[in-house]
């Protein structure tokens, strides 16, 4: 009986693995990309590459969350399913800290007789691709250079003689004025638990001089600065549409597009929607600027898309060729015309692109001064817990002090577990 079973198992395994391979000796590169504008640009580039070189490229496109799951499983169990993986930068520390998961790029450069990456990449973007952050080995290249911007209604600000907000106090007083005098809300933010609440809070947190961790990696979320920052967020919440504690990015952008709110933190990907008559009631009225500050100068959160080669990739060299081609100046310019901010300084200053993207100088300034989310492999877990307590504070369930104390306690547990 057991013999029969094992034969059956072996046969089915052989059959399955035969299905997995392409069969012929033809080179195929498989790329895991995200659905949405970032992934679409890379998919388009892959098609062009196929036409130019004859190398076959298979695209595996997934929504944001499932992309992370697929990549994590691929990298953890070394399935070799993908030759290139596109990743959001907060995932990078997790992936890079798995043993033998990502391919170091410098040896691949050397193999081609090259020194290494060129200097055109924005420093803050490239720093994300190194493990440890900024100083370590290079494991990826930046493809899409997002960083948060501050959006506000130029026309309303002019109407009430308000100056472009430079500090969070400016934002608060403008929000108050606008909420009192207009039918719209002065501010809109997203405080749904998880990524949303944290992304909209980090710039305030940093501006107030708070830090998530001290030099030894212990959480310092509930410092005086941190609590003051959360109090500012709650103040802003008073001038935000009701229900913002459940808002995600879509709701925030809808309020801005419908003209029912005057200011928010948002990502550059939404800029083009404001001049689209089918979506926007505020064409030509929106202004984009860098993050307001407080005690510290304002810093935006960076959110880049990176591309890396798994260690288990079956065609590393071909994958690296494509990676270099897709991130070179010419291709990234095409990607920029498809709606993705570049990661190359020269492209932010490109005449042609500037005509279509007047916010590029601000975007470059924001990107260059931006900060990454804390570089820890446990970031997903930490962000989740932090987001839960921020969301609780914003829905009125907890006071600012309680929320930050509890968040600190829970994050501490996570950090201890990782040690």
């Amino acid at each position: 009986m057991s013999k029969f079973l094992s034969v059956l198992l072996i046969l089915s395994l052989v059959f399955l693995s035969a299905c997995n391979r392409g069969g012929s000796g033809e080179k195929v590169i498989t790329i895991a990309v995200v659905s949405g504008v970032e992934g679409d640009a890379l998919t388009q580039a892959a098609k062009d590459y196929e036409a130019q070189t004859g190398i076959k490229i298979k695209i595996a496109q997934f929504p944001y969350q499932s992309l992370f799951e697929k990549e994590l499983i691929d990298l953890q169990s070394k399935t070799g399913a993908y030759d290139l993986v596109m990743m959001d930068d907060p995932w990078f520390p997790k992936f890079a800290s798995l043993s033998n998961a990502l391919t170091e790029l410098t040896p691949l450069y050397q193999k081609k007789g090259l020194q290494g990456h060129d200097e055109d990449f924005v420093k803050t973007s490239l720093a994300l691709c190194r493990h440890p952050y900024e100083s370590g080995k290079l494991f990826a290249l930046p493809y899409v250079g997002n960083s948060q911007l501050f959006f506000y209604r130029k026309d309303i600000f002019e109407k009430y003689n308000l100056k472009s907000p430079e500090t969070w106090d400016d934002v608060l007083s403008a929000a108050k004025t606008i909420s009192e005098k207009e039918t719209m809300k002065g501010y809109v933010m997203r405080a749904a638990s998880g990524n949303s609440a944290v992304a909209d809070f980090m710039p305030i947190f940093w501006a107030y001089g708070a830090e998530m961790f001290d030099a030894n990696g212990n959480p310092t979320i509930n410092s005086g600065e941190g609590i003051a920052a959360l109090k500012m967020m709650l103040e802003l919440g008073k001038y935000s549409p009701s229900g913002y504690a459940s808002f995600g990015a879509d709701e925030v952008s809808n309020h801005l597009l419908q003209g029912t709110a005057a200011m928010s933190i948002n990502w550059p990907a939404w800029i083009s929607a404001f001049s689209d008559a089918s979506k926007s009631k505020v064409i030509g009225k929106m202004e984009f600027t860098t993050m307001p500050g407080a005690k510290n100068q304002g810093k935006a959160e960076i959110g880049n898309w990176l591309i890396a080669i798994p260690q288990s990739a079956q065609n590393k060299d071909a994958a690296f060729d494509f990676l270099l081609w897709a991130t070179d100046k010419q291709q990234m310019k095409l990607s920029a015309t498809r709606g993705n901010p570049p990661t190359r300084t020269s492209l932010f200053k490109d005449e042609e692109l500037l005509k279509k993207n007047p916010a590029y100088p601000v975007q470059l300034k924001s990107l260059e001064t931006s900060r990454p989310r804390p570089r820890t492999p446990q970031w997903n877990e930490i962000e989740n817990v932090f987001g839960i307590y921020l969301s609780k504070a914003n829905s009125g369930e907890l006071s600012a002090e309680d929320a930050m104390n509890k968040a600190n306690e829970e994050v501490k547990k996570i950090v201890e577990r990782g040690k």
């Binding site: 009986m1 798995l98 638990s193 009701s242 504690a245 309020h255 839960i388 307590y389 829905s395 369930e397």
Partner: protein, 291 residues
């Protein structure tokens, strides 16, 4: 059969015939189950074996609140689904005009995928642009504080409303089938004996419907305890973790944090609890049959 097979072969035949089923069961259920047991004892990045995942359960506040949310959600939704489902079944079992149309319409929510249901209700619950607050506003109600998915209590109510909306038809369907299987004679006898409608319901309908009720409750309880998709779309467990059920927490732990060991440990706790509850139902059901 014995004309073609020797005694020995005949004894072997049944095993041969069930071998494919066993093979499928083994590869798809039994092997994964044992693999999961192994995984639940693995901790840390190096996957060393320890009891860590199970001891961690006891100090994890999020786990206990997820467990509490699951049981409160399940019991409230189950009660409502049962009461509404039973009333509808009684109503549509009578000689109501147009009952076939009602029956067909009642099944629509059940046919929709939970994800679609989640998206539709999420839009309806939107406090600024949604249909629910819009309708209330047009009747002159003040909806400023009705932020359905943003305040913890309302969000919890919202997920119950959606589940009741979608799954009451299922309870209704089983109970209706049960009602129609009850023969007419006891009712006729009761009528002759002069029993009131309430007495008839209490002494005839309810006892004879008990098996159907238990099956409906059992199936719904198991589904409610592992509810995932509609809540994931509606609130993703928020605000805070006010609507985070155990399945959502397990999902988050496994696929967002990559901690498969802890996630499987929690799954086992859920499995054991679901089993205990199901066993209680089944025992009760068997007792009824014997009586």
């Amino acid at each position: 059969m014995s004309m073609f097979l020797s005694n020995k072969q005949e004894r072997f035949l049944p095993y041969l015939l069930i071998a494919p089923t066993v093979a499928v069961l083994f590869t798809l259920s039994i092997y994964p189950l044992f693999y999961a047991i192994k995984t639940s004892f693995q901790t840390g990045d190096d996957l060393h074996f320890s009891l860590g995942n199970f001891t961690r359960l006891f100090s994890d506040g999020f786990f206990f609140s997820a467990l509490a949310h699951t049981f409160v959600f399940a019991s409230l939704a189950l009660t409502l689904e049962f009461l509404i489902g039973l009333s509808l079944a009684l109503l549509l079992d009578s000689k109501l005009r147009g009952k076939n149309v009602f029956r067909a319409l009642l099944l629509v929510p059940m046919m929709l995928p939970p994800v679609v249901v989640g998206v539709i209700w999420r839009l309806m619950f939107n406090s600024d642009f949604g249909a629910i607050n819009g309708t209330l506003k047009s009747f002159g109600f003040d909806t400023t504080n009705l932020t359905w998915l943003a305040s913890s209590k309302l969000a919890f109510l919202s997920i119950i409303v959606v589940d009741v909306w979608q799954w009451t038809p299922f309870v209704f369907l089983i109970l209706l089938a049960g009602l129609q299987a009850i023969p007419n004679e006891p009712y006729e006898a009761a009528l002759i004996d002069g029993s009131s409608p309430w007495q008839t319901f209490k002494n005839i309908t309810l006892p004879l419907l008990k098996p159907a009720i238990l099956i409906a409750l059992l199936l719904r309880t198991m589904d409610l305890l592992r509810v995932f998709d509609s809540i994931f779309i509606l609130t993703e467990g928020g605000p805070g973790n006010a609507t985070e059920t155990i399945s959502l927490y397990i999902y988050r732990t496994a696929f967002r944090f990559g901690d498969f060991g802890y996630a499987t440990a929690m799954s086992f706790v859920l499995l054991i609890l679901t089993n205990i509850i199901s066993a209680m139902y089944i025992r009760f059901l068997q007792k009824q049959e014997k009586a």
